[in-house]
Symmetry: C4
Subunit: 367 residues, 4 copies
């Protein structure tokens, strides 16, 4: 089984990088959100402090690289490159699902290289929520964390992907209870993350009550796993699966909506991910009260080229964020949430009809 | 007359399959409706039960094949193929208008083949409402039902088509009273269906009061009968009729709007049809409180190719529906109506201004 | 001066027919308005009565041909053709501005031909409101009316056209008072009409108070006079005027908005014109409470080809209107205003913010 | 340093004129605003008075040419040409940033030529707000004003441009206090202007309280300085800066929104600029309660060609404005604010959610 898993992981990387697997008829919602430019920033751009403390860890900027890969030789190089750069920049990093290495010890190195290259960066281990139903428990979680000396564990929820891929595991009965068991026993923070379909207010509430310490909403509008499975099915001549992939290509809660759904509902940090492509997007996510932001695709494409390219991509994002903060007269990440933003269009429509408040964002500090 | 009717039926099939007769400037409204993805489905996809009981009959999935055709040799093959597949899958099926066979006994076989191939499936006989004004009554209704040993009779209302086609019958005076006479006498359920222009709340109310047991709203956004008549007129060199077809191409109440108009007004099952093209559409219709959904065009195109193709099309729709239910954590068709949906855009605008409630759909089970 | 006027009129016809002089970035607003289809019309299409009485005259359908032309040989043929057809169909007709013939008696025939060919049809004489400021009075009005034995006089307001064309007269001081003087003396009804830029509620009120008996709102969304002047200026090498024409190409109040602005404000008949291109548009105008509708461009293009073509165009419009009425179960023109219409989009937005009621249209007869 | 500044200024002009540096995914908002045409203007177009008094100066029309350039030989010719035309037309003019000439006396002529050619026109001197933090004070302000015998000084705020350009100065700490010091000492009016990113209500309030006498909101939707820097970076092979320019290309508050934000907040004159391209735009800005309007780009392109071309561009704008006023029956610039305008779309959405009133504009003088 693991060989097949490895082949699948290789395909995932190839398809993500070479095919158009972005959302097609749905967007993140960030394009509906406008900042209110401040002609008098009143600050010195040089004094802007991008650092933030989340999960008791100090990040030099509110940015982590999302869980991408592991298990294959190429994955090993990618993890190594990303780790090297996040260590240098003081960011954080999640690794891809570690199941493959929990089951085959010889694959551990493709993950543990992350800690080797990033001795102090915030590293997030990763296992699938659905594995918890299929026999995994505290033991495997600890094994995954130990593998990279993780600062936290991310339990990923990927029902869409499991439902579309032929080899998918689609028994999610009791996943929440299993998560609760883990959070009760584990000292380090448990983060729950989606994988591109977003998290609704209702689920956010349940997760917080289950003892989860952070929620990565991973909304719709960026890379679509259904699209990835569409291309895999096309390649393997499986028209039925291909049609399924097509039908669910744009499924999910767009990122901006999901950030608000969860952040207006829970009191734990929200990590914003899903289609974040610029420092302006990062700033919008933070203004919507995300505590951290996370990207995968742009970093994956860069990491394949090397650490120089990776460093450029991440530095540009950080500089863009710094610029936004300068243009809003905001000198700390914590106070971005005090600057007004105007939520319009489909995003405002979704949030209002779902019962969330949108006016207060636009009037913050107006009076 | 019947020969001409047969020619017309042949043309209808040819044009529906080979020309673009879809709505052009109007859509079903389904694209305005979003599900709220559930990252924690909490169920086992394998345990999802798609079966439903409507009209006292148990369907293995809330899906029937809409009234398509009859009367010609090709129609006979199509009915046979569809019947074979719906029997196998445990679905239901409506036949095309049976008037032609009521008037010419030798054409009965093109309809009765449906029951031969589908001994247990839910079969719906079919006569035109306008025929009831032109002399038809309980006798003809019973004859139509007996022809296919029908489980129900659909009386179709097609004023648009009658108004556009040169040979159209456009006296609809007293149709409602005639329907009431039929429902009063008939034991089996009477369904009233539109043919692509939708049913408004006002008409739904009248139909329920007239004793109708189900309403197939057949809304706008899928196949346009005005478009079919446009192509017929073009072929026959009738510019006046062609212009009429063009002018009414997009006439009618879009499907999503019509489902809500009727389902918020009556207490009998609503059958959703008109432009349903995927299992996601089916799920949206059910979430809007339709009891069954119905498709014609995609099944017609498949049925011409054979039962294998037909089975694939219907199975894919069912799998897509099952996937949606999995991603919403819904394990029975009956509880889809408890999951939140976000109605936006033109559809929300139409419904609000017409006086229907749209917020409650978005907040179901939120608190 | 008159020669120049004649040349201008010839150019106007040529440009209107051969160039694209339709509104570009603005529409009539009719596309924002939806009828609520009635699957049970409950009537016999054959019994639909299209006749209506307005200004004490009985029209066989609520449709007149808008003021088009006069003064030139070609205008004479056009007026003759249109008159012949409206007489046959029992409609009405307005002639173009008669100033040219008031000043040059030999040109009278190009107008009086209308009455010769249409002995019983409702004919509307036509003079410019701005002429009333420049010396015209009751005498000229009566002369214009006598010329065609008119049933009514239309005083046209064309400030946009006058402002754009190099030879334009742009003193509109006291036009309203002059209109009041005419209405006080004249027995036959005075209609005031715009020429493609629409009439606002405020102006409608003033006109009603001035004794006007009908208002032709002539809204934006159809033929643009600024566009016509754009092409004239281009032809004559006048870049300054060409730029002016371009800048005002889409100026004015869209037709649907203007109908509501005026009909919710006055108690005299509203004539709807400006971009009406189908019987569906006609029905929408009537549902918005216009008493008559009027078209120019499509009839002009047809009239150049002859009476057959003209009769076809008008008959098709009437049949389309009849079809709409059938599909709404409405058997008289007067009761179209009782059938619900759904006003959405830009049109609803304009009307609401201007303080007009839009919900009641959608709920008429719902309860 | 000054040499480099001069090279930069030359590049700015070349890029502004030859590249597409207009906003791409954002518009001024003027397209969301509609006038309510007045079919009965009730005035004589000839009697329309375009003159207005602002800052104690009488302008023959509410139009000035925005701060463009200075310091280079070409800038000198441009300033000379514009000055000649604004003098002739009785308008006003701002010069580009004078820092370069404050520091190098031999460059003064490129600015002072403006006063030479425009002995009576309203001339506005120009220094950067950020220079006030870097050592400039009353002395330099007075020097700049004396250089052109200015009627007012504009302090420009350009944090976006400074943040994007490699040589940018991004310390804006204390700019507001420095402005307050200048206004306290200077007799002539101090205007504060943005440079294409707009001014928010909050900033407008602070500026008024700091003694500023006019605010040029310079909103987003016209020339983008980020775009200019994008092209400079591309030319100089600086991919990082190029990406930054791209990311902030459309940053800022659109012009229409900014006019309302500020005009509903302060009691000093608002100058509207940013993407104004026609007399219709000018009229919309005035209807939103701007006291003056200002353009740069179209005048720059014309001025390079000469005074004839420049005079044509400005005369056309004035004639377009006069036409709008005529079509609204408004005979003075001051009363444009009494005529109704309909604010729709994104602009209405932004303003409403930010807490500004939009209905009253549409109902002015309705009752």
């Amino acid at each position: 089984m693991a060989d097949e898993t490895i082949r699948r992981k290789e395909e995932h990387i190839r398809i993500s990088v070479n095919q158009n697997v972005q959302a097609r008829r749905v967007t993140t919602g960030f394009e509906d959100i406008y900042f209110v430019h401040k002609a008098l920033p009143g600050i010195n751009k040089r004094n802007i402090n991008l650092s933030t403390e989340v999960f008791g860890h100090s990040f030099s900027a509110p940015l982590i690289v999302g869980a991408i890969t592991g298990g294959t030789p190429e994955a090993s190089r990618i993890n190594s490159t990303i780790a090297e750069v996040v260590e240098e920049l003081g960011l954080g990093m999640g690794v891809g699902s570690q199941r493959v290495a929990i089951e085959r010890k010889e694959l551990e190195k493709s993950f543990s290289v992350a800690r080797k290259k990033a001795p102090t960066a915030f590293l997030i281990a990763n296992i699938g929520g659905v594995q918890l139903v299929n026999g995994y428990g505290l033991k495997e979680v600890k094994k995954a964390m130990k593998m990279i000396e993780a600062d936290a564990i991310a339990i990923h929820l990927n029902p869409l992907q499991e439902a579309i891929q032929p080899e998918g595991q689609t028994n999610f009965e009791g996943v929440l209870e299993k998560i609760r068991e883990i959070t009760a026993e584990l000292e380090k923070p448990v983060i729950v993350k989606e994988t591109g379909a977003g998290i609704a207010a209702e689920e956010g509430k349940k997760l917080e009550e289950a003892g989860v310490k952070g929620i990565d909403i991973s909304g719709t509008g960026g890379t679509s796993w259904a699209a990835v499975e569409y291309y895999r099915a096309r390649k393997h001549g499986k028209p039925f699966q291909r049609e399924l992939g097509e039908a669910f290509w744009d499924w999910g809660i767009p990122t901006a909506m999901s950030i608000v759904e969860v952040s207006q509902t829970v009191n734990i940090p929200v990590i914003a991910s899903g289609g974040i492509r610029s420092g302006v997007d990062i700033a919008k996510a933070l203004a919507l009260k995300a505590g951290l932001t996370s990207l995968s695709k742009p970093v994956l494409s860069a990491a394949i080229k090397g650490s120089n390219e990776t460093e450029k991509v991440l530095s540009l994002l950080i500089e863009e964020l710094r610029n936004v903060m300068f243009l809003l007269g905001v000198d700390s990440v914590q106070t971005i949430t005090e600057t007004p933003i105007v939520i319009t269009g489909k995003t405002a429509e979704w949030l209002s009809i779902r019962g969330f408040e949108v006016e207060s964002y636009a009037r913050r500090r107006r009076h």
